[in-house]
Symmetry: C2
Subunit: 177 residues, 2 copies
């Protein structure tokens, strides 16, 4: 499966596309960063991010989009812009029917490094190894986007099967009422 | 001028369109609420809001969109969804070139009631009077959207003239460098 990972942000929005499936080697398809300047009003910056995400979806046709789950208790100075960039990215995927998944930072750290409290350097190092790259992707937002895509490939299968089972069970319970 | 006011929210997004200009009577064009159900994933709810905002923009062709400015210190349980709904509304307007303005809750309260700390009932009452309505628009989100539109009509002119003057001055300073 091909996954577009997005590390949302208004100034730098990390984008990473990875091909792979559980138990097989992963491969890097593309990695980069969408940038917007803080001198523009937030709505113009969000439109730029929308165009950028749409362009990545057009070019790479991912099977799923994995976005970092944002918490209200995160860094307050940038949290609103980050939440809005994540919202735009979700809408870009959802309106064309591409499945969306949110993964928390600790899920991502645990998936790629085995440690939910790993630091940025460790995540970057593991992304470099897992994708067999010559150098660590920079900036950190780009590496984080790839880590999100890898997390989704490795967790995606199990999570989707669980959700399908829960939905099927809910349907059964509903039918018996 | 015609202004679409939006009181952003994921469960209820207040929408209100007002025609008017400074020193002349205001008139209600349309008012309502976009609703999404909390049983759907956030990205589907955001797509529903996007479609709703686009439909209001298509129908009413406003000269400007006024959206409540969201602060990170607001109610934490709903702040992420509110911020994302506001972000989508901004993008819907900005990508078609409709000017966007953000007004704080206290700016809105001060504009319609003269008191920046007025309560919801007082804002609703003033909206009802200013638009000469038979009854207070409900729910409160709808009345708040109308209050945002009225605020923009009353503040918009002065604010736009100030911004134009600042931009012209910046251009002059830049030209002399």
């Amino acid at each position: 499966m091909r996954v577009l990972g997005i590390d949302p942000g208004l100034t730098r929005c990390g984008m990473g596309v990875v091909d792979g499936s559980i138990g097989r080697p992963l491969s890097l398809v593309d990695v980069g960063v969408l940038r917007t300047t803080s001198s523009l009003p937030v709505w113009e910056r969000l439109v730029t991010i929308e165009k950028g995400v749409d362009a990545w979806l057009d070019e790479h046709q991912p099977d799923a989009v994995a976005i970092e789950r944002i918490f209200a208790r995160s860094d307050v100075s940038t949290i609103m812009g980050t939440a809005q960039a994540a919202g735009i990215a979700m809408v870009c995927a959802a309106r064309r029917g591409v499945p969306v998944a949110l993964h928390t930072p600790s899920e991502v750290k645990a998936a790629v490094s085995g440690n939910g409290r790993a630091d940025k350097a460790q995540v970057g190092l593991m992304v470099t190894r897992l994708l067999r790259l010559d150098a660590m992707p920079k900036p950190a937002d780009a590496a984080d986007a790839l880590a999100l895509a890898i997390t989704h490939i490795w967790r995606g299968g199990a999570q989707n099967r669980l959700e399908a089972a829960v939905a099927a069970q809910a349907l059964k319970v509903g039918a018996h009422k």
